[in-house]
């Protein structure tokens, strides 16, 4: 489904702020995998997701989605393969537009947009049903401007938008980090439901080790721009947080204590 080969990216090359964000990243994800990604600040997690989404071009290496080389494909073109939810709840929706309008724009991701009516009647009914599954009471607020919603509600709508037409790959960039714990748990629950129901191939970055273990069928840990730990299947199911900390120390050569700012239990 996703094949990343020797991906490299350096920000601000040749300056004092030079930062090697990706240092030869290799990753292959199979169809239907739900992969959680953990790692310290600056490990390259978001950089990897942005590279897959095409926010900028990598310096070296290739990215293939579903057998198509997308390395040089512009962001809006490869969007047809992807569903994305950002860390910032403000980033994934258009605040000055209605919930239904936001959903209708997402529903047409990957199609050529025409000069025909932007939302059909039947569509509104479909959106109403989908919003009802979120159990946030949004189904009665279809014509409400998204800017009036809370961060958690906006993130839930963004999730719905990202999964509307079954993307080949769902990219979740710490999408619960900016929410309060209760809302975060709710959004994660919705995430898991959408991913399972639609059998979506998913990459989810999280700061929370417990979530990283609890969700998905594979866990990868990044450090200094590449993958240092990769566990899946039965091994991942049995994983404990202390084992995970041990794996991190082994891989990075430093105790997790130094990095406690980054990962929480």
């Amino acid at each position: 489904m996703l094949k990343i080969t020797d991906l490299q990216k350096t920000f601000n090359p040749g300056t004092v702020n030079e930062k090697m964000a990706l240092t030869g990243l290799n990753l292959t994800i199979e169809d239907g995998d739900f992969v959680t990604v953990i790692g310290g600040n600056g490990a390259g997690k978001s950089t990897m997701l942005n590279a897959i989404a095409g926010v900028w071009k990598p310096d070296y290496g290739t990215i293939e989605i579903d057998g198509v080389d997308v390395t040089n494909m512009p962001e809006h073109k490869r969007a047809k393969f992807l569903g994305r939810v950002f860390q910032d709840p403000m980033k994934g929706t258009s605040p000055d537009m209605e919930i239904a309008e936001n959903l209708s724009i997402a529903a047409r991701r990957g199609t050529r947009r025409k000069l025909v009516w932007g939302i059909r009647k039947a569509e509104r009914e479909q959106y109403r049903e989908l919003l009802a599954t979120l159990e946030l009471g949004l189904e009665s607020r279809l014509s409400c401007k998204v800017g009036l919603l809370s961060g958690g509600q906006r993130q839930a709508v963004t999730l719905l938008m990202a999964t509307l037409n079954r993307p080949k790959l769902l990219l979740l960039d710490e999408h619960t980090a900016a929410l309060d714990p209760k809302t975060a748990a709710k959004v994660l629950e919705i995430t898991d439901k959408l991913v399972t129901e639609n059998k979506l191939t998913t990459l989810m970055i999280t700061h929370n080790m417990h979530d990283a273990i609890a969700y998905g069928n594979r866990l990868i840990m990044m450090h200094e721009g590449h993958i240092v730990v990769d566990v899946s299947g039965e091994e991942k199911k049995k994983l404990t947080i202390s084992q995970l900390l041990g794996l991190f120390e082994q891989a990075s050569g430093s105790a997790m204590g130094d990095d406690k700012v980054i990962l929480s239990k």
């Binding site: 809006h76 969007a79 000055d96 947009r113 009516w117 700061h207």
Partner: protein, 312 residues
């Protein structure tokens, strides 16, 4: 009394400037670009229309070609911005300067071309204000209906989202660059259409027409939206508000002229109006913010950062 005599003229001219302000509304409010092309493209519209009328073209054709010429100027600014990576405000300034030369060459190196209302059938002219008001009003209604329909199409919705949230738009597969060019083309097409009407109304196209047009457009938008947003904040009401803003602007303009303000100062007055509208909300918030107790919330509170910090 003199003011009442001047009123129909002020309304007619206000309608035309209101139409121009709708163009500015598309770039400034919808695309979130302060597009300085406007000062040049309104003049391009006036010049194209005047020259075509002088050469015997029918008035409707002159107006349509003026619209298309304006759209081209918007495309130029859009390409300078999106294809060449020039900041949008600078791209507009560059096009504006380019258009000064272009407009001069359209006028055949003259600074003014007169339109003879007896030789041409004109849509609007200052000699017949009631008719001008009706004609300008009909064109405005057609433009508003057209825009209303357009902004609810698949393409139109993505044009709105492009200005509102480019990150979200790109993530949803919207070609943000193309949309900016398209939006600027429509905006400047409408501005040039207003320019064509203005040239007919005044009976001439002048190379200096349109200097400060962006400021007048913004003034009309701020005046109009200050009222229409309180009535109903939707697209059509906003556009009608903008037209109203244009009319109010020209009525006030005529009023201060009659009060004896030297016309030399009028551009300064326009700038002061816009500066005030931009400054007042800021000043209110910065210096005159009163403490208000929380009211019962109708919407759930925005997400706090607590969770993020706690989880970190």
């Amino acid at each position: 009394m003199a003011f009442l005599y001047a009123l129909p003229g002020a309304i007619a001219e206000g309608l035309i400037w209101g139409l121009m302000a709708i163009g500015v509304y598309i770039s400034y409010k919808i695309l979130d670009i302060a597009d300085l092309t406007v000062d040049g493209s309104i003049c391009t519209g006036a010049c194209v229309c005047a020259v075509m009328l002088a050469n015997g073209s029918p008035v409707w054709l002159s107006v349509v070609v003026a619209f298309m010429a304006g759209a081209m100027t918007g495309i130029l600014t859009g390409l300078l911005h999106t294809a060449l990576g020039i900041p949008s405000i600078l791209a507009g300034i560059l096009t504006q300067l380019i258009l000064y030369s272009v407009n001069l060459s359209i006028l055949g190196s003259k600074s003014l071309i007169a339109i003879d209302p007896r030789a041409n059938t004109l849509l609007v002219h200052m000699s017949n204000n009631p008719r001008s008001i009706v004609a300008a009003g009909m064109i405005i209604v057609a433009v508003i209906i057209g825009l209303w329909l357009f902004f609810y199409t698949e393409v139109g919705l993505t044009l709105k989202s492009t200005g509102d949230n480019p990150d979200m738009s790109r993530a949803q597969g919207v070609n943000v660059k193309f949309n900016k060019v398209l939006g600027l083309a429509i905006a400047n097409g409408i501005v040039a259409l207003a320019g064509a009407l203005l040239a007919q109304y005044k009976g001439s196209a002048n190379i200096n027409d349109g200097r400060g047009a962006i400021v007048i457009g913004l003034a009309a938008i701020f005046i109009g939206l200050s009222v229409s947003m309180k009535i109903k904040p939707n697209f059509v009401v906003s556009l009608i508000g903008v037209i109203g803003g244009g009319i109010v602007y020209y009525v006030v303009y005529n009023f201060v002229v009659l009060l004896g303000l030297k016309t030399d100062y009028l551009k300064m007055l326009s700038a002061i109006i816009v500066a005030l509208f931009l400054a007042v909300p800021y000043l209110k918030n910065e210096y005159f913010k009163k403490q208000t107790p929380a009211r019962i919330q109708t919407t759930p509170p925005a997400a706090s950062n607590e969770g993020g910090d706690a989880n970190a």
